[in-house]
Amino acid sequence: MIALALAAALSAPFGPFESDGAPVTHDARFPAASRVVPPTGNPLYLAFDVYRWSITVFDGPRCVHRPVCSVYAMRAVARHGLAGIGLAIDRLWRGDESSALRKLPVYVRGNEASYDDPLSESDFWLPGRPRTRPF
């Protein structure tokens, strides 16, 4: 019992400030985005759900971005309505670049790597979004 507890303690990551490059928590670096609960009966959300629970099941998780494009699209539509569709379509065409000047940061979890591209990276210029950093 003691050996099991010791092994678990040794294998667990230590300290809320631990990370690769800086003493901040994983959560601080990648804060969990607020979950969007789709309103029932909305055909737009129905389309996302059908995609996520049918095509993705057969096709597998192939999106190179984080969050995946269907979740991104749901959040974009929930937050910006019709403009969110534009954001979602723009996301589908994009690869590893934020723009021609800068690559998206790579998010690594276990053996999987993806490009970290939250909605806030693209909707900062739309009305109603707080600007965390001036530009």
Binding site: G15, P16, F17, A22, P23, V24, A28, A83, I85, G86, L87, A88, I89, D90, L92, W93, R94, G95, E97, S98, S99, A100, L101, R102, E121, S122, F124, W125, T132, R133, P134, F135
Partner: protein, 280 residues
């Protein structure tokens, strides 16, 4: 006997110390350092090192990149302390935390109030002026940044950095720019053309291909009088078309933001902004 033993034990207990907390802080274990400083303040709230522990808790948050917590902690010190020097240091660090957290307007406001404060030591005033220059620069006001860095040019601690930054801040006026209006108009004329203007030919080609495919589908279905299919494809094509325009406008905003990020990241790497914000 028990009373004597407890007396002996209490007499043998060492006085509270911040030595271990300082060790944790120096080794970069800020999370645990905060706990040790808190322990010291709990055991000896009026001790010789109480002010040191209070400031170090805030600086641990700051170095741990917990900027709102750091600012709130320094605000509390500034409100509660009776020592003018400690108040000045706490106000300076609170402004530094806000600047690090991206709240440049608030940082500028606080630093402008702080710099003329006679209670501030010359070294802290120099640091405040240097940070004010950074806050102006990161707040996208290079002209005021250049003037403020000029005011800090004689500082023994920050003068060399300030002089270099006063000249490099000119670069903020020459950053590459893309017009969202032009990008959107180009994609309205030819869906995806705006992406070429933004320097993203791959995205532009993808947008042209999708729009061309669906556009041809609408045309072909209409030519064969398949109005149902033409309508469905038309709705989808409208989404792709709108997405190309919207994405081009968004891309121009992102281009400008990334130009600014690259510029400030380069400055922050080359010049010691972070150490100025956390102090010695």
């Amino acid at each position: 006997m028990i009373a004597l033993l407890s007396l002996a034990l209490s007499a043998a207990a060492p006085p509270p110390s911040v030595a271990f907390a300082d060790h944790l802080y120096d080794t970069g274990d800020y999370y645990r350092a905060i706990g040790e400083y808190e322990r010291y303040l709990f055991e000896d709230p009026a001790g010789d090192a109480a002010a040191h522990a209070q400031i170090r808790i805030g600086q641990s948050y700051l170095r741990g990149e917990r900027f709102p917590e750091a600012a709130a902690h320094f605000d509390t010190i500034a409100e509660q302390s009776r020592d003018p020097a400690l108040r000045g240091l706490a106000r300076l660090d609170a402004a530094a935390a806000r600047s690090r957290g991206g709240e440049q307007d608030l940082a500028v406001q606080e630093l402008l109030e702080l710099v003329p404060d006679p209670a501030l030591s010359p070294a802290l005033r120099d640091r405040a002026t240097y940070l004010l220059g950074w806050a102006y620069l990161l707040g996208h006001d290079p002209d005021l940044a250049i003037r403020t860095f000029g005011a800090a040019a004689a500082s023994p601690d920050w003068g060399r950095e300030a002089r270099a930054l006063a000249s490099e801040a000119e670069g903020a006026k020459r950053l590459p720019h893309r017009s969202p209006l032009l990008a959107g108009l180009l994609s309205a004329v030819l869906p995806g053309a705006g992406y070429f203007y933004l320097g993203e030919p791959g995205t532009g080609l993808a947008a042209i291909a999708w729009n061309g495919l669906f556009g041809f589908g609408v045309y072909d279905a209409a030519a064969h009088r398949l109005w149902g299919i033409a309508s469905v494809l038309g709705v989808l094509e409208a989404m792709w078309y709108g997405g190309a325009i919207f994405g081009s406008v968004s891309g121009a905003h992102k281009f400008d933001r990334d130009a600014w990020r690259n510029y400030t990241d380069g400055l922050e790497e080359e010049h010691d902004w972070r150490s100025a914000t956390v102090g010695p």
